[in-house]
Symmetry: C2
Subunit: 312 residues, 2 copies
């Protein structure tokens, strides 16, 4: 009977590792550097060594471990193969099999945004919810959809890629994905800066944003202080994101919507701004679906990765 599992969250500079009990108790967490040189060939051996060392240190035998879950910054298909991961310099990789061969422990891979959503649904803001839409507002907009307590991976590993839903047919600038009008262009940290710069150019109105470098944090701080131009920017943000979430709720009808990522550090005023527009556009029976802040922060990935290797 397995008592432990590992949750690993591979980022571009750091690999976060967690040793968990199978009931979700975090026993210990630690980090190792992500060595991306030589096409990231050291990354999986480094993870394997770190886990095997931890087993020795904690006097844990392999048959006490249900598995190793790994979140990866790139598309992972339904079989757990990594299609590519630009930030790790990886091409196609059968991660589960490779890591299993190195450790002798069953392994499973998932996309990092999807895995973070599973973490929040397991032990975070949406603890116990069987269906969740999670949006991660960072440099880009990531997302993860949980249905029946499991990640919705999708045919091409693009399940939950909600940052690239088109929300504005009149957009003239291109998103990194090549399309125009993606949610990410309005709701990511970079999107907020873009909207603010547009607003600053379009008017002569006074604003604290004219006195400093425009960052997402500066816009959000100015918004909380009632700066008129920042408020205008955040109303546009709320309208686009709230409307998109209302559309997604027509598809999924989740129990809970969770907002995470760096932008979510703005807290409840951000949620209020999103919720106002969500309720405006939502299908009536979904109008009261809770929209809440993520609670696990940077640990969501290790929690969700660990959850992946536990039986339902």
């Amino acid at each position: 009977m397995a008592s432990y599992c590992y949750g690993i969250d591979v980022g571009g500079t750091t690999i976060k590792c967690g040793l968990f009990k199978t009931d979700g108790t975090l026993v210990e967490k630690w980090e190792i550097p992500t060595r991306t040189e030589n096409k990231g060939e050291a990354i999986l051996p480094d993870i394997a060594k770190s886990i095997l060392d931890k087993n020795e240190e904690k006097r844990i035998f392999k048959d006490e471990i249900s598995g190793i879950g790994v979140g990866v910054p790139g598309p992972v298909n339904a079989h757990g193969d990594v299609e590519f991961a630009v930030n790790l310099f990886w091409g196609y990789k059968d991660l589960s099999q490779e890591l299993e061969e190195m450790t002798g422990i069953p392994a499973k891979a998932g996309n990092d945004a999807n895995v973070a959503a599973l973490g929040e649904a397991w032990k975070g803001a949406a603890e116990g919810a069987q269906s969740v839409i999670m949006v991660t507002l960072g440099t880009g907009v990531g997302g993860g959809i949980i249905i029946n307590g499991e990640i919705l991976t999708g045919k091409h590993g693009a399940g939950g890629e909600i940052g690239h839903a088109c929300v504005e047919h009149d957009e003239t600038e291109r998103c990194n994905c090549g399309n125009k009008g993606c949610l990410e262009q309005y709701a990511a940290a970079t999107g907020i800066v873009r909207l603010a710069n547009r607003a600053l150019e379009a008017s002569e109105a006074d604003s604290v944003l004219r006195k400093e470098t425009v960052t997402a944090k500066a816009v959000l701080d100015a918004y909380k202080e009632g700066d008129a131009l920042a408020c205008q920017v955040m109303e546009t943000f709320g309208d686009k994101l709230g409307r998109a979430l209302a559309s997604f709720a027509c598809v999924v009808d989740p129990e809970t919507i969770v907002i995470g990522g760096g932008v979510s550090k703005a807290g409840q005023p951000l949620i209020d701004c999103i919720q106002k527009y969500y309720e405006k556009y939502a299908f009536p029976v979904c109008r009261k679906t809770p929209i809440i802040l993520a609670t696990l922060g940077n640990d969501a990935g290790i929690y969700g990765a660990a959850r992946m290797v536990l039986a339902k």
Copy 2:
């Protein structure tokens, strides 16, 4: 070992019934009238009697039947309870339990649009697909989402209610649901008529549509004949529906998208019109997701209902 199952599709005027083998072979189908008087109190007893009579006729014992699946025109929650069904004059109804008590056979209810999607995923256009988005373009726009071969019901039974995703923030007219800019206002048969009437009022251009009553069929026929005004209407239709489907594909990343309902009788030209805009707006890896016509027609409901009561 069960060899048979029943699939029942309850409509506002007719109840469609199907006796299936568990491998999906349709043994026989028939219809009975929907008696909606006295708050539809005769509907379930009529279904029960029809099934018990069929058992006698076919010499089938109850333990040879895996269950009775029932599609209902209204929201059905995850427990299989019907919240209400306006066209049947039903309020809340524990359909599964009531029908089980009347027949001695396990029963399960689902929303009719969701059930039709399951039918198409089981034995129709998307046969064998594990994940499907189905859109039913009729008087309204219905939808059903299949994930891992099962209906995505949602917290409030609103999973797949994609007709009420907001696709146009500048709309001034209200949808039946009370919101503005719902997909249904552009892509349903009524939506196509609305767009055509708008276009006719907005210009003096010649069109065959000025010479007859404007129906969705008339617009689609004129479109196929190259009538400029009808083409303009259908480009708007394709833009709204294709963009909405591209957004939904960012959430679900399905294997296949199926288009059904009365409007889909327009055939491949309709698909081409939708696909053109879908590809324009789709996230790159989802761009080639097949968009295909439903094949089961009015039988999709009995197939999907039957599938609901079979083990995965």
